[in-house]
Structures are given as structure tokens and as C-alpha cells.
Symmetry: C2
Subunit: 212 residues, 2 copies
């Protein structure tokens, strides 16, 4: 009888249900440990010459380090942070419905860049002790929505709950005409990039999955 | 009190749980009516000069027409068909695990094109009576999997159940490094293309969604 080793535990330093769902679809059941870092303060104090991907990476690292400090155990910690860049400006969640409508009126028929920073910390007792990260970029092309379609979409409430005022895996999917890059990066966690980071510390995807 | 009209009913002429899940995520609860067309015979009799996207469109139309004939009612019918093209050849489901491993050994570090044909038939009593379709193409770049990773992925069984021997929304996601196009097209139903086809018959996404 072959012994199947227990999977390595992955701690996700994020409360995002979308990120958790991505990992579960790919066979990983993460432990959730929400970081307590003051993201707004970190962003405000970040060096002014950082590009959006570098800021996202800085925040991802801070979240991962915060979660790693909270926990005492044998696991790998993952932190992520996403921002949408449109015409050189960075966008988070819209303040209200009026702002979401305005954003979509600017976004339609144009493209933006979704940056997600990823940071992993190997806290396994017999692990690599590695701490490393990278950010990934995906170009997102928005469809040419009519004013009525924008009103309908904003009325669902979804754009108010997400950075960039859109989802690619929810009610916003019909309004994203195409992407260049990885769609899981747009959802908030690039699974192919996570695979590459894990391989750098000698861990394969299978080592993290719950089914043998 | 505003009266919210009942949504237009969408009939999906496909047994694919992935296609159904895409529609549900985007707010549409489709009625399922699996077509009884002999896909293998249709493909064998298709004109030899059709490109993969045209064959997918032919099959999508046959499925939609078959479902429309089975049903008597007030709805819009949607048929879809997907194929993977790799180095000029078209691939369906692998026969067995050995073939899935061979496929991935060819696919890794390369790209393929996922073609999905879409056909809609407007069978509403007061509708446009339109019957129209289009196919969409998404370029899929496969990561550089090691032999061990291929063995692990094939051992999950998933590649044996899907055309092209991979998923982009399941256990295969870490192994798709990037795409150019629309990821829902790779799953089997392009939501942005469906939106455009519906607009051509005067129907907006909101008209099909179950939440007012």
C-alpha cells in the first residue's frame, strides 16, 4: 500500500472569496489568515517612483509577512494584492454607484492593466525558508457598453464591491471582450505564477492538493 | 410599484456543466435541452475545406436547431461546440491516460487555438425570429510542465474528460500560462460573444437575468 503524504498547508493571507475559490477549483484548500496591515498607510508611504505592479508586490509582501507573524506552524504563506491601471492611473473600489457609472463610461471600448503582486513565505520546519514574490500583468479589454448596460450592471451592486469596478468571473464577464495574459491574475491570484514561485522553493502543485 | 418583467428564457442545447456554470455566474439560469445530433457523423460529412472554427459553428448550429425542434415554447436557444487546434490539427477528448500524457508532452511550452462556435435561435412568439451565430478564437499558451507534473495532472482524471485534455477553470489552470482572447470561450461559451449576438436581436443581458 502506497502512503500518500499529507498535503503541505497553504495559508492565504486574504479575505477574498474569489482568491479562495480559485485555489479550491485548482485542488488546494487554503487556510485563511487575514492580515491586519494598514494598506492605505503602506500605499501612502510607498516610494513615489514605484510602478503599480511594484506597489502591488509591496502590499502582497506586507500581507504575507503579517500573516506569517500571526501564525506559528508548518506551512507556506501566500499574500496577494491587485490594482487596475487605466491610462496611467490606479483604481481601487469605486466610492458609490455614481462613480462606478463614471468609471465604466471611461473604461468602455478601452483597455486597462490588472496588476497582481504575489508573495510566498516558506515557513515549513523542513522547508527552504524561502521568501520571494513577483507581480503579473494582464491586459483587459472592455466591451463597448451602452449607457443602459452600464446602468444595469452598476444596479447589480457588484461593481461597488470590487477593485476596478468589474469582475471577469461574475456578472461582469459579458462586458470583458478579451484579455492578454492570465485570467486568474485578473480574479486576484495568478495560478500559473503561483506554480512557478512554488517550483522555485522545490514544491510542486501536487504537494499542495488535497486529493492524492 | 415597478413591475419587473420575467426574464426571457434561455435554452442551452448542451449537457456541459461548465457552460451552465458560466451562464449562472453571469446571472442567467438556463434551461438545459441536450441535443440528439450525431456529432461524429456531422463532422465526417462536413465539407473538407472548412476551417476548425467553421466546423465548430456548423455543429453549434445543428445542436441549436435540434433543441429548437424538440421544444415548443417562448425562448431563445443557444448551441455551442468547442475544438482545440494545435499545429493545424484538431483535438477532442483523449482516448486514455497514455494519450493524454503524449498530448501534454506535445502541448507544453507551445500554444493552441480554442475555437468555439455559438448559434442562437430566437423562438419567442413576439421575438425577432432571428437565427444567427459566430465562432470565437482564443490562443492558449501552455506552461512548460515537467514529465512529473504531466503524470500528476493526468492522474487526477480531469484531462480525460475534456476536449483538448485541459481545463482553464479547474485543475488545469496552473498549467495555462496565458491566453489571448476571452477565457470563457476556452471554458466553452464566450459570454462577450453571446452578449453581442443577443444585442443583434434586440436583447440585452439584463433581459435574461433572473435578478431584476
Amino acid at each position: 500500500m502506497a502512503l500518500v503524504p499529507a498535503p503541505i498547508r497553504l495559508v492565504l493571507a486574504s479575505a477574498s472569496p474569489a482568491r479562495r475559490a480559485l485555489l479550491r477549483q485548482a485542488g488546494i484548500e487554503p487556510t485563511i489568515c487575514v492580515s491586519t496591515v494598514d494598506e492605505a498607510a503602506l500605499e501612502a508611504n510607498a516610494p513615489a517612483d514605484l510602478c503599480p505592479g511594484e506597489v502591488a508586490l509591496l502590499l502582497a509582501r506586507a500581507k504575507a509577512e503579517d500573516a506569517a507573524e500571526q501564525l506559528d506552524g508548518d506551512h507556506i504563506v501566500l499574500g496577494c494584492d491587485s490594482v487596475l491601471e487605466l491610462a496611467g492611473k490606479v483604481y481601487g473600489k469605486p466610492r458609490d454607484a455614481a462613480e462606478a457609472v463614471q468609471r465604466w463610461q471611461r473604461m468602455r471600448s478601452r483597455s486597462g492593466v490588472l496588476h497582481t503582486g504575489h508573495w510566498i513565505i516558506d515557513d515549513r520546519s523542513d522547508g527552504s525558508a524561502g521568501t520571494l514574490g513577483a507581480s503579473a500583468e494582464t491586459i483587459v479589454h472592455f466591451a463597448d457598453l451602452s449607457d443602459a448596460e452600464i446602468e444595469d450592471y452598476v444596479a447589480t451592486g457588484e461593481p461597488l464591491r470590487v477593485a476596478g469596478a468589474f469582475t471577469i468571473d461574475g456578472l461582469g464577464a459579458p462586458y470583458i471582450s478579451r484579455i492578454e495574459g492570465d485570467h486568474t491574475n485578473v480574479v486576484g491570484l495568478s495560478l500559473p505564477l503561483l506554480r512557478e514561485l512554488l517550483l522555485e522553493i522545490g514544491v510542486s502543485w501536487r504537494d499542495l492538493t488535497t486529493s492524492g
